[in-house]
């Protein structure tokens, strides 16, 4: 039955590729310019942008699970915690190479996500939210209590910077360049997955689980894979934080991290392609512009998040759509 009558000229044979609108390209360009500016200007801005890149990687993963697949996880910081401590312990205690420690931690986080996700993702609604949230809290508590492994509140210092085979990236400028490249790589990977059979399946689940199942998509398995992918991203971000800052403690991966990253994702736009990157950079830079914010920073994040949730749940990346003329077809 494949031979269906074709009534219009054949369209150009090209695989589906998600396109950015001009507004989104503009946003990306601004983010690129800001990063370049920080690279030239140097100083404290370098640290701000290094963290923005790391958060960007985290948010890309979060967007995969929440934006594309439409599931709620309030505990992704647990996997960042695994990544961060994995890197710290392997490098400081056992003298591993940073790159290797990062990958090993990702494997651990991935396996953990698989084991935790399998039962947890059967839950729905408030239960899923509470279960994932408590996951983040359990990990936070363990990172404080299991002092023989994590050194408790003291945390780990002297974590070596990122590098491969003896080359360590010491200069703060080059660290930023490396992180920007990694962010680009992370984005590229997420794009490839999004624009494919697998990614379409995920987005279908977010649209309608029943509809997806009726077309033969194995919904629980797809959710689990998306959860693991998000965990891998989170773990990588946690490791990168450890290697970039050189110091970690439980607070870094505490519940605030969940709020900060959600703020970023909502500022940028949940479920949009560039939302995580734009959100991470904008939400990292804005507090620096209003330098006086200082100790009000967490308050600012919470207020901005509330504002976005109530008044602009689609975020910056969707603003362009407001100006795009909309075709209305007659039925």
């Amino acid at each position: 039955m494949t031979s269906l009558s074709i009534t219009s000229p054949k369209p150009a044979a090209r695989a589906a590729r998600a396109r950015l609108d001009w507004f989104q390209i503009g946003l990306l360009a601004v983010c690129g310019l800001l990063t370049t500016g920080a690279l030239i200007y140097g100083g404290y801005l370098l640290t701000v942008f290094q963290l923005a890149m790391i958060y960007g990687i985290f948010c890309i993963g979060l967007n995969f699970f929440m934006g594309y697949t439409g599931q709620a996880s309030f505990g992704q910081n647990a996997f960042a915690c695994i990544g961060g401590y994995g890197s710290a312990i392997l490098c400081v205690q056992y003298g591993w190479e940073p790159a290797l420690a990062l990958i090993a931690s990702m494997v651990v986080a991935g396996v953990a996500a698989l084991l935790i996700g399998y039962p947890t993702l059967r839950l729905r609604g408030h239960y899923l939210a509470m279960a994932t949230f408590s996951l983040g809290l359990i990990t936070y508590d363990i990172s404080i209590q299991w002092t023989s492994l994590t050194q408790g509140y003291m945390g780990y210092a002297g974590i070596p910077p990122l590098g491969i085979a003896g080359f360590e990236i010491e200069s703060e400028r080059w660290k930023l360049v490396a992180l920007a490249a990694l962010l680009g790589f992370a984005f590229w990977i997420s794009q490839r997955m999004r624009d494919s059979r697998f990614g379409r399946g995920l987005r279908a689940i977010s649209g309608s689980e029943n509809g997806a199942a009726a077309l033969g998509i194995r919904v629980p398995r797809f959710k689990l894979i998306a959860f693991v992918i998000a965990a891998l991203y989170a773990s990588a971000a946690g490791s990168l934080f450890a290697h970039t800052v050189g110091f970690i403690s439980p607070e870094v991966f505490g519940p605030q991290m969940a709020i900060i990253t959600f703020t970023m994702l909502y500022v940028g736009g949940v479920g949009t392609m560039i939302g995580p990157i734009v959100g991470a950079i904008v939400a990292s830079v804005l507090p620096e512009i209003f330098r006086s914010v200082g100790k009000f920073q967490d308050i600012a994040y919470a207020v901005v998040l509330l504002g976005m949730l109530i008044y602009a749940p689609k975020g910056l990346s969707s603003l362009g759509k407001l100006f795009r003329p909309r075709k209305k077809e007659e039925a």
Partner: protein, 295 residues
């Protein structure tokens, strides 16, 4: 192996803290039943109750009972503000479930940070309501505060029952719980009922915080664990009637307190969170299936 005395002592302690969890759990149920929303910021009201009571007590030198009443009213006011400025706008816009949950988490962080800025980040406590004690029953010590918790808890649960069954407003709230659309059609002002629900549940949380602070301490970050434990108690109790939530709380408090004897105090939260995960996973629809039906 811990001795029998230790076990009994921790049982007594567990009942005390469990009653507190129960009160918080009732707060969860009141809002959930009226609106279908689980207010993840519930624990923050517990923290505020203790903080406000302490501030009024020490800064203005008012007697403890007046401080407690004032603090409860103030916290109920905060709850109303949260409903009016955060929950209601989202509710009207039909925001998705997880956005509302996220918003309540953001509210929690916001209030905690404001508390740090205004009242500081140091833990604080105040004396028990009745000085002296503890009451010794053989080798078991029972603090007088436990009787206050028991008494106040009983009074609150009883008056809540009366409120729901006897008053016009209480019955309207129950109507909202059963069928919101129908209640609205019958002329029940649903949004105003939600405000009442938030005031009630934040007041309950505050009372719990005020009662427990003398035996522990309060600080900006105690809200999270209290909230989670209250939620677990609510799940065990089935998100239904106040007495069931209270029993759920006592159950959780006793388990937690016995577990501390075996594993150490540092693992208090880890244990209750693990219990939560186990309950959720073994009963993916909740112990009484109440939550997912409408979630």
């Amino acid at each position: 192996m811990p001795s029998v005395v230790e076990l009994v002592q921790s049982l007594v302690n567990g009942i005390g803290i469990g009653l507190i969890y129960g009160l918080i759990a009732i707060g969860f149920c009141v809002i959930y039943n009226a609106s279908g929303i689980v207010n993840f910021a519930q624990g923050v009201f517990v923290m505020l109750g203790g903080m406000f009571a302490h501030t009024i007590l020490t800064h203005y030198g008012l007697p403890i009972w007046l401080s407690a009443v004032l603090a409860t009213i103030l916290v109920a006011g905060v709850g109303v503000l949260v409903q009016i400025f955060v929950i209601n706008p989202m509710w009207r816009r039909n925001a998705p479930l997880f956005a509302i949950i996220l918003a309540t988490l953001a509210v929690q962080l916001l209030i905690e940070q404001v508390v740090i800025l205004t009242l500081g980040d140091q833990p604080r406590t105040y004396p028990e309501f009745t000085s002296g004690g503890p009451l010794k029953i053989g080798p078991i010590a029972v603090g007088y505060q436990l009787f206050w918790v028991l008494g106040c808890g009983a009074v609150m649960v009883f008056s809540l029952q009366q409120f729901f069954n006897r008053t016009r407003m209480g019955r309207a709230l129950r109507a909202c719980a059963q069928n919101r659309e129908a209640a609205a059609l019958l002329g029940v002002p649903v949004e105003r009922m939600l405000i009442v629900a938030f005031a009630l549940s934040s007041g309950l949380g505050a009372a719990a915080g005020i009662l427990i602070t003398p035996t522990q301490y309060t600080a900006y970050m105690v809200g999270g664990p209290f909230g989670i434990n209250g939620f677990i108690a609510a799940i065990i109790g089935g998100f239904g009637s106040p007495p069931a939530a209270l029993i759920g709380g006592i159950f959780l408090g006793v388990i937690q307190s016995e577990a501390i004897v075996f594993f150490g105090a540092g693992f208090k939260n880890i244990i209750s969170l693990t219990l939560l995960l186990v309950v959720l996973l073994l009963f993916p629809n909740g112990l009484f299936g109440g939550l997912t039906k409408r979630a």
